[in-house]
């Protein structure tokens, strides 16, 4: 059945993503909705939450924060946009990815027009997005029901549709950009960059007065105009202000149609494997290297497996460092700014106080405790980076790219360790730059932080990143790339869940110890947990040793 048309085959390729993203994001909605009553147990707690919402209004417009629908809309105003990463990647690959692999040639040799092939694939993306939206809507509805929220199934469905529409816009944008780029990665990167720019553009009007005209340039603005989970009539605000905004949703739909239509139109007219020709003034100047001068290259990165591996991860390391160090520095700045609101919130919301005390690990009278709570996200980000790099190692073997390297007189062990050493170098650089960013932010804002503890908090995430990478290398000894990455990501989610939900549910210490985050501790308050850090390092070394033993003995690649 699934191989009867291009549409069904493409939809089949998306089946895991539909379930993963749909159920994953839907469960997040469910969990957050279910937690709302305990966050606003008293009038004072509700007031404090509303006050905190005002402080974070740059994140999302805080409307009816004391209600489940209002809280989840605010809390996931930005987070839900993470789902746009999927269509962004999927649509970059949709045509360009197949062109890179050469598989589009075979597909286009069939008696089907190019336009039809592109439209069938696009229809599959849209079906997938609507499927994800439906799952999110159903789980959000279930979460709302569990706390007697006052939005109905129709409202939840509109919320899901709104999410699907904004995701569709970024998918369509990626599809359009991929008509101009030779590689799918470039199209993904450009669209990802635009996603960030549009998110910031949307924020502008919530921070700087009279700049709404600027925010209107962003599709995210139109997404945020609709708040289907906030049925305005219940809260004494004009019903036209909130709820779903059909006009905004139509703008998003029109953008989808326009961008996708342009992409398909261009695809039908360009060379397969080529790009849409840009006017000469828009083209990057070509680096003209005469063939006879192409050698020797004399590049530092070509000297060994280690340097080559370092060269391969240089670009992702740069971006991830920007995110991790930027996040850490920004957190330091924000904590200083919201000092007063947090004190008020702690006083009136016992649950939040307990959560932050447990995870942050200290006295709430200090900003460092709240910062310590936020710093747990640092190892999470570094570990996510490690997952991507473990995935790359596994993919290189699966795609046969290790075959020629291993045909040279390089021992297998050296190849594996060279690659891992490059990853270690990258994580150390990320840790050190994060330390530098937070120290600078601390000095700039006047937030008093213990230098030693700050170094411990930023540098002790390195062993956790290496642990995940080593586990990824180990699993790749037996598993295919997709399964290896999936398991590793799942492990990360489980660990995060144990460390963040476990304390609230009063799970035993033995259970909490199952999470790697447990061993990160609260270094910003209590310094480096030396034994725990050494323990993580030891487990990582054992995993790497086992991965090495396996790699040295196994059949390579495509057998």
């Amino acid at each position: 059945m699934w191989f009867r048309s291009v549409y069904l085959k493409t939809l089949r390729d998306f089946r895991v993503a539909i379930l993963g993203w749909g159920v994953g994001m839907g469960l997040l909605m469910y969990v957050v909705l279910a937690a709302v009553p305990s966050l606003v147990a008293t009038a004072a707690a509700r007031a404090a939450l509303v006050s905190l919402g005002g402080t974070f209004s740059w994140l999302a417009e805080p409307i009816a924060l004391g209600t489940p629908g209002g809280y989840v809309t605010w809390k996931y105003g930005l987070t839900i946009l993470a789902m746009a990463i999927w269509p962004l990647i999927a649509c970059s690959r949709l045509l360009r990815g197949e062109e890179e692999r050469g598989s589009l040639d075979a597909l286009l040799s069939l008696p089907r027009g190019r336009g039809r092939v592109a439209l069938e694939k696009l229809a599959a993306v849209w079906t997938a997005l609507l499927g994800m939206g439906l799952l999110i809507a159903l789980l959000a509805f279930a979460g709302g029901k569990s706390v007697s929220a006052d939005f109905g199934l129709f409202d939840a469905l509109l919320f899901g549709l709104n999410v699907a529409l904004i995701c569709g816009v970024f998918g369509s944008l990626a599809l359009l950009l991929s008509q101009f780029t030779q590689e799918r990665g470039t199209a993904s990167g450009l669209t990802g960059g635009l996603l960030l720019v549009f998110v910031v553009l949307d924020m502008v009007h919530r921070i700087i007065p009279n700049t709404e005209w600027l925010s209107r340039l962003s599709p995210v603005y139109y997404y945020n105009l609709s708040k289907p989970l906030v049925p305005a009539s219940s809260y004494g605000v004009p019903s036209s202000s909130y709820g779903a905004n059909p006009g905004a949703m139509l703008v998003l739909l029109a953008l989808c149609v326009l961008l996708s239509g342009a992409a398909v139109w261009l695809f039908a007219r360009r060379d397969v494997g080529g790009t849409v020709a840009l006017p000469s003034f828009l083209r990057l100047p070509e680096r003209a290297v005469r063939p006879e001068r192409a050698l020797p290259v004399n590049a530092w990165s070509l000297r060994s497996v280690y340097t080559r591996s370092l060269g391969m991860i240089a670009v992702p390391t740069f971006w991830w460092t920007l995110v991790i160090a930027g996040f850490a520095g920004w957190m330091v700045v924000v904590v200083k700014q919201i000092e007063a609101q947090m004190t008020s919130l702690y006083a009136s919301s016992p649950l939040l106080k307990e959560e932050i005390t447990k995870v942050g690990g200290g006295d709430l009278a200090t900003n460092a405790t709240f910062l310590s709570f936020l710093f747990v996200f640092l190892p999470l980000l570094l570990m996510a980076f490690a997952v991507t790099q473990a995935n790359r190692w596994s993919a290189d073997e699966e795609d046969g790219r290790l075959e020629l390297v291993l045909s040279t007189p390089q021992p297998r062990l050296r190849v594996l360790l060279g690659r891992f050493a490059a990853l270690t170098t990258a994580t150390v650089i990320m840790g050190v730059l994060t330390l530098a960013a937070t120290a600078l932010a601390s000095a700039a804002t006047g937030l008093q932080l213990d230098g030693g503890n700050l170094a411990a908090a930023t540098l002790s995430m390195i062993p956790l990143g290496l642990l995940v990478a080593a586990l990824g290398y180990l699993l790749s000894g037996w598993l295919r790339t997709a399964l290896d990455t999936g398991l590793l990501s799942f492990l990360l989610v489980i660990w995060f869940f144990i460390s963040f939900v476990g304390p609230d549910l009063n799970w035993s210490d033995a259970v909490l110890r199952l999470s790697a985050f447990y061993y990160y501790g609260t270094p910003l308050l209590h310094g480096l947990p030396l034994l725990d850090t050494l323990g993580v390092l030891a487990v990582g070394i054992v995993a790497l040793a086992l991965a090495s033993v396996r790699f040295v003995r196994k059949d390579i690649g495509r057998s």
Binding site: L295, V305, L404, S407, P409, Q410, P411, S559
Partner: protein, 308 residues
């Protein structure tokens, strides 16, 4: 001559699926050895076992007296390898790829490298992803030859090369041979093997069915002889003669087509008893021999299409 490759009862299974079974052969130093077989016969498995990319379930393989698995690093100093499917970093230029592999091999003669690039007419300044399949193959060939290895192991090396570059490749192989170095190449292009190889092994469904020199393989030839007589001749006169495997009378009643293994002496003498109008004999090419091993489960098959 001494054997540079010694393969002894080598077996590789992929779970319950067949890889190769009890494969044994030797390749002498200085020869060009052809490894023939259709897709899935076990050629690449054998080569990847030699390169220690796979671990054998049984048997052993040695190169230059060294165990292929235990001493793989030492062995790889002697080898230039071209895999059947070339997977390289698409974002590197051809020149960067060659420089990288040059470094991994401990340095190479840049002048010789440039000479190879010129001979195969490839532009090293382009990214690997931008190359045509033929040019990708050329980069693979250059990286296999560039350090002047003692042994070249080439898996279907001319796949995707145009005829001019195939000729250039043949010349490069001959130079290696003249230099006393060894080439082990797998192929299903029989004319290529016939022209460049001293000896040939034929692998079928994971098992070696024949090893011999190209000439030896031709010597086990089965000739197709067509005799046209002035009058109808009884077919029984030729049945049972030494070497005759099959006789048939063609539609005109005056012509017999015989399949003869080995010498045709008895057939010629029997024909001489009658008035012969024409006699044609077709000597099988290596391709015919090869096909015979693969058609009809190794049994003799008709080669009537080659009869003239």
């Amino acid at each position: 001559m001494t054997a540079i490759i010694e393969v002894d009862n080598l077996t590789k299974r992929y779970g319950s699926k067949r890889g190769i079974i009890d494969v044994s052969f030797q390749v002498e130093e200085g020869e060009v050895f052809g490894f023939l077989g259709p897709n899935g016969a076990g050629k690449t498995t054998t080569i990847r076992l030699l390169m220690a990319l796979l671990r054998a379930n049984a048997g052993r393989a040695r190169i230059a007296g060294l165990d292929c698995w235990q001493q793989s690093v030492e062995i790889k100093r002697l080898i230039g390898y071209l895999p059947g499917e070339l997977a390289l970093d698409p974002n590197l230029t051809g020149g960067q790829i060659l420089e990288y592999f040059g470094h991994l091999r401990g340095g190479i003669d840049q002048a010789y490298l440039k000479q190879l690039i010129a001979r195969l007419d490839v532009d090293p300044s382009r990214k690997f992803r931008q190359y045509s399949s033929g040019n990708k193959r050329k980069i693979g060939i250059i990286q296999a030859f560039m350090h002047r290895p003692r042994l070249l192991i080439l898996d279907e090396p001319t796949n995707g090369l145009d005829p001019l570059n195939q000729q250039e490749f043949d010349r490069m192989v001959k130079e290696v041979r003249d230099d006393g170095r060894t080439v082990f190449l797998s192929s299903h292009i029989l004319t290529e093997v016939e022209q460049t190889c001293h000896r040939v092994a034929i692998i079928r469904e994971g098992q070696l069915v024949r090893v011999g020199s190209v000439e030896e393989l031709k010597d086990i030839k089965r000739q197709e002889i067509t005799l046209t007589f002035a009058n109808a001749v009884p077919i029984e006169a030729f049945k049972g003669l030494a070497g005759v495997e099959q006789v048939e009378t063609l539609a005109d009643g005056h012509t017999l087509r015989l399949s003869v293994q080995g010498q045709a002496d008895a057939v010629i003498k029997a024909a001489a008893q009658h008035s012969v109008v024409t006699l044609t004999s077709h000597e099988p090419s290596l391709e015919d021999i090869f096909l015979r091993y693969y058609e009809g489960d190794g049994q003799a098959v008709k080669e009537a299409s080659h009869v003239v």
